[in-house]
Point group: C2
Chain length 118, copies 2
DNA sequence: CTAACGTACAACCAATCAGTTGTACGTTGT
DNA sequence: ACAACGTACAACTGATTGGTTGTACGTTAG
């Protein structure tokens, strides 16, 4: 049944596995941009960029809000942080702390101490 | 010419974008395993697992050493850490430190101070 | 009103991917 | 010597990917 968490990780890493998408993510993390504004920076069609944004959005790394006829995309830094957290788990496995991993996850779910501070 | 760094990132994230490969990485981070030993854990052919290990190896996340007729794979925690570092850069972009990122990149090109230390 | 803009989405194509099977080759144990 | 083991690799298949073009639709400016 490939856990929900694993499917999330698939989406996260797949979305990040393309340099155009990573570049888009950087731009929208720095500030809101319309899809067509983003498209101007790349040597490909608007539709192609639109698809890249959609991939990032499905992964939860980017969110969009409508403003008139424009669709403004912005980066979700919390999502980026949760990918980082996934990698930190790998490092912890290396340390041999496999048992403590589960405890940490439970902890994170119950009281979010490592949360955003605007 | 899609910088070297970007191609590395592609390889890293692509390698991580598969739950079987992530599971293999966890196992080999915890300790050395032969390819066939790894293969026993998954509902797929030996050749398929071998390919997954090859993807991880090409990305630099796993290294192999030969021991008799066995090929022992182990996880490269430094590589995992450098992926984490990539993500931290994204978070820094979000913080508005766009200018410093470029400086860091230039820095990295000229005198590699943030390099691996075994 | 209407023309231009920003977006959405479908259809299509070439390339890559994840999986398979089959073959080949060095290593190990008896 | 030789059978079983662990590996490597090629060839093939179906699914997915990253890109294209074309069409359609709401929104904004003259």
């Amino acid at each position: 049944m490939t856990s929900d968490r694993e499917k999330q990780a698939d989406a996260f890493f797949h979305a990040l596995a393309d340099s155009t998408r990573r570049d888009i993510l950087r731009r929208v993390l720095a500030g809101e941009h319309s899809v067509s504004a983003l498209a101007q920076h790349y040597p490909m069609s608007f539709a192609a960029v639109q698809k890249h944004v959609a991939v990032l959005e499905r992964a939860g790394l980017v969110s969009k809000r409508r403003s008139g006829r424009e669709q403004l995309a912005s980066g979700e830094v919390e999502a980026v942080r949760s990918v980082t957290a996934l990698l930190v788990e790998f490092e912890q496995v290396w340390r041999g702390r496999v048992d403590r991993i589960d405890a940490l996850l439970e902890d994170d779910r119950t009281h979010p101490t490592t949360q955003k501070e605007t």
